[in-house]
Every structure is written in C-alpha cells, then in structure tokens.
C-alpha cells in the first residue's frame, strides 16, 4: 500500500539541523515532513554520541547529544511535524519550473511518495547503513548467506548461524537466535563485550552448557560457491586459522554513513558534500536546499550552530516558493504576537 502526501517542504534527515529547520519554517507557516533512515530522530547526536557532552551550543554550557535532541523536539512541538522514520529517500525528481519548483520524493522502504514545493537536505554525513567488514567478495553472499540485520527470525531456523561482533546487536541476536538455530557460533575479536551484562551472562551460560560456541578471532574469508555460504575462515590472535561451518553469517559492526542515493539527484557535488550559496543555502537546483554537515561553501564549519543559522536563512527563501504572493515580514519571537500565537504562548 503506497501513501501519497502533499506538503510544503520535505526535510531529508532528522538530525539537530533538520529538526531546527522545522522551527524556522514553522514560524513562517510552512508545513513539513521529515524523513530519516534511522528508527529514531536525532541523527548523529542520537546514534553516535547520545551520552557525549557538547559544549558549543549557544546558550547551553553543556548538553548531551540526546539532551539537545530532546530539547529540539520540545521546541518544534507546536508545529507538529510528521516523521517518517526507518525510511530512506530513494528518488528526488523535479517536476516544476525554476520559478515555481515542485518535487516528487519517493522513499524506499514503504514507497511513500511526496509532492512538495521545496526540499531541504539536512542529511549530515549521509544515511546510516550497517558497516560492512572488508572481506573479499562478501557482496556475493549478501541476502543469501550474509545479513546485516535480522528482519525475520524464521529465516534462520535450523541454520548454522555465525554471528560476528561484541555489542548489543550481536549479543541480543545470539541469545534470540540460539534456540532456533541448528548451531550458533559467536565470534568476537577479544573476550570483552560491550553489551548489557545480563545478555553477556546468558551467552556465557549457553557456552558453558555446550549449547553454542564462542570463538575469538576475525573472519578473513568466506567459503562456499557464492551465493551459497558454507563457512568462514577465522584468524585467531596468534595468526592461526580455522574454519567455522555456517549457512549464514550476521556481522554486527555498527553503523557508518554513506552518501547513498543523494549522488543521483542531479545536484552538484564536491567530495561528497553539496555546494550551496551563503544567502539562501540553495543548491544548483532551485528549490532544493542543503543545510548542516552535508553542504559546503567558502568558510564552512561543520558545527551544529552553523546548521541552525543555515536553516533560518533557507527558510526565508522557501517562504517565497511556498507563498509566492505573500510578503515576508521579519519578526522576533520576543515581540511578535503572531509568532507567539504560532508557538502557543501568546498571552
């Protein structure tokens, strides 16, 4: 079932900069939908360093990544943005004119389509994707013998499963898949695990009972005629190698960011970032803006605060596309009753 949504603006990326753009657009009566590949909002702040303190957000001597995201969510609440999480924008097509831009945006997972008057790319370093271990020819087994996520547990019933990694995903799936797998092997590079202690304990007791195997080492190559996986060659710390028979391998090495489909949208790119002007932060395609870490211009600093500024200026130009007939009055939230009404704080 495919949904179609008409809105003013689609924001690609729900990191801090995308979130604050909702605020700046909202003050100008512009409605938006945000799309993010992660299952949660906050981008890098929430995914990479939720607990890390940030010291250079104006007005916050110290705030954690997650704390900043939570505050931004509270700040944009009056504008009721719609979030489409776990979705990646697959295509972005221009169907308007330079004077009256119109875009068709399509996401991959649910195939939701959007029609909008402007697109703001606030995609940071790109879309988060599973980190793939650099093993020769691993791609040839993907989807048949190598999986980076578990979507359906049943797929692994009765299989010889090799899980690689030492974090929460690796340990959670170890204890969840162990009962249904024919044999489960966990491989990690060292005998220390960064996962919830009770899950690690559970894994250790399964190993002690002989119900699964734990090996220390790293996969160096895969065996079996692709796409059929038959085993993984593992190198131990002392350099010796052995093979673990397996039908499937699940590497859980965390996430990394890839530019992804953005490269196919007809935008000028310079070393994986998008050049913009510094008046409107618009790309070479009128109506498509880029703000935050994903853009570049002379003097660019990849700071969250720069992204906030960029969003505010982009919103001014977006207003002209969304309301071509309306004159935009510059106002302050401290003094404007109309802005205060939008924020739900008018006396």
């Amino acid at each position: 079932m495919t949904d179609h949504i008409e809105t003013d603006v689609v924001i690609i990326g729900a990191g801090p900069v995308g979130l604050f753009a909702v605020f700046e657009l909202g003050l100008l009566d512009i409605k938006c939908h945000l799309i993010d590949i992660l299952p949660k909002v906050g981008g890098q702040c929430a995914e990479l360093y939720p607990e890390k303190p940030i010291y250079d957000i104006p007005g916050f001597p110290m705030v954690t990544g997650q704390g900043l995201v939570d505050n931004l969510m509270a700040q944009i609440e009056p504008f009721h943005p719609t979030f489409h999480l776990n979705e990646m924008v697959e295509s972005l097509e221009s169907i308007g004119t330079p004077e009256a831009p119109l875009f068709k945006v399509k996401t991959s997972e649910n195939g939701t389509t959007f029609t909008c008057k402007a697109v703001i790319i606030a995609a940071g370093g790109g879309s988060f994707q599973p980190k793939k271990p650099p093993i020769d020819n691993i791609e040839a087994y993907e989807g048949t013998g190598v999986y980076y996520a578990v979507r359906k547990m049943e797929r692994f019933r009765g299989k010889k499963v090799l899980i690689v990694g030492g974090g929460d995903s690796a340990l959670d799936w170890t204890v969840n898949l162990q009962p249904i797998a024919k044999r489960l092997t966990l491989l990690h590079r060292r005998d220390a695990f960064r996962a919830a202690p009770h899950t690690v304990e559970k894994m250790r007791s399964l190993v002690a009972a002989g119900d699964m195997d734990l090996h220390l080492g790293q996969v160096t190559s895969l065996k079996g005629e692709a796409p059929v996986l038959e085993g993984a060659v593992i190198r131990k710390d002392d350099g010796s190698e052995f093979t673990v028979d397996c039908d499937v391998m699940l590497p859980f090495f965390g996430l990394t960011m890839k530019l992804g489909p953005i490269a196919d949208w007809g935008l000028n790119l310079h070393e994986n970032v998008i050049p913009v002007d510094t008046e409107k932060f618009e790309t070479n395609v009128p109506g498509i803006f880029a703000i935050g870490d994903i853009n570049t211009y002379p003097g660019k600093l990849k700071l969250i605060l720069s992204g906030f500024h960029e969003g505010a200026l982009a919103a001014q130009k977006v207003h002209r596309y969304v309301y071509p007939e309306k004159r935009l009055l510059f106002q302050y939230t401290t003094s404007s009753t109309s802005l205060q009404k939008k924020l739900g704080v008018a006396a």
């Binding site: 890098q44 990479l48 360093y49 890390k52 370093g125 980190k131 793939k132 271990p133 650099p134 093993i135 691993i138 791609e139 990694g165 030492g166 974090g167 990690h188 590079r189 060292r190 220390a192 960064r194 790293q218 996969v219 710390d237 090495f253 965390g254 990394t256 960011m257 990849k302």
Partner: protein
C-alpha cells in the same frame, strides 16, 4: 616540528608535517589524505582506523576501553589503532602508519 609518514590504501607513502597537540587523524585529514573521521574524533566510529608500524606501537599510550570498543567494529590487526586517539607530540616524530581498508 616533525613529521609523520602515512601509507595510503594504494600503497603510496606520504610524509606529512605534524603539529603538536593535533590528533594524528586531524593531521592526516588536514593534508587531504582520504581518512573519513566521521565522528570528528569522538572515538565513536572507527573510520580513522590505521595500522601502526611495529616499532612505534610501544611509544603510544595504550588504547582505552572506549577505543577497543570501537576497534571491535572493524577488521583489526595486532597493530590497529584509531588515529583520532593518538595525540601527536614531538616524541612521535617519524611515526609510521598505514590507512586501514574501508569496508564496502
């Protein structure tokens, strides 16, 4: 003043002027070699993974538990380090590192 030697993924060795107080990742990035340093040096991504020449390993501060956690997410060798966790000091003049392969 001093230098570091960095071998890129094509096998070419570059000699880069180093700056005291900079992380090795930052020196490599500043000279324009392809090192990602995605998280900006927060020890949260392992995209600045390098192999350190054997003779230099003992001269470095040993990796923290945090760095080991990140090294878990890449294919390591015994001489693997995250270059964002190596602060350059004049004692490291001549440090020899190789950029680790990036995943697909």
């Amino acid at each position: 003043m001093g230098v570091i030697h960095v071998t890129d993924r094509a096998g070419q060795r570059h000699t880069l002027e180093a700056i005291e107080g900079w992380r090795v990742m930052e020196i490599i990035r500043d000279w324009g070699l392809p090192i990602e340093g995605l998280c900006g040096g927060a020890c949260e991504c392992a995209t600045c993974h390098v192999f350190v020449a054997e003779e230099w390993l003992d001269k470095l501060y040993p990796p923290t538990e945090e760095e080991e956690d990140q090294l878990d997410t890449v294919m390591t060798q015994p001489n693997s380090r995250l270059s964002c966790q190596i602060l350059w000091t004049p004692e490291l003049d001549g440090l020899e590192v190789t950029l680790a392969p990036t995943g697909a």
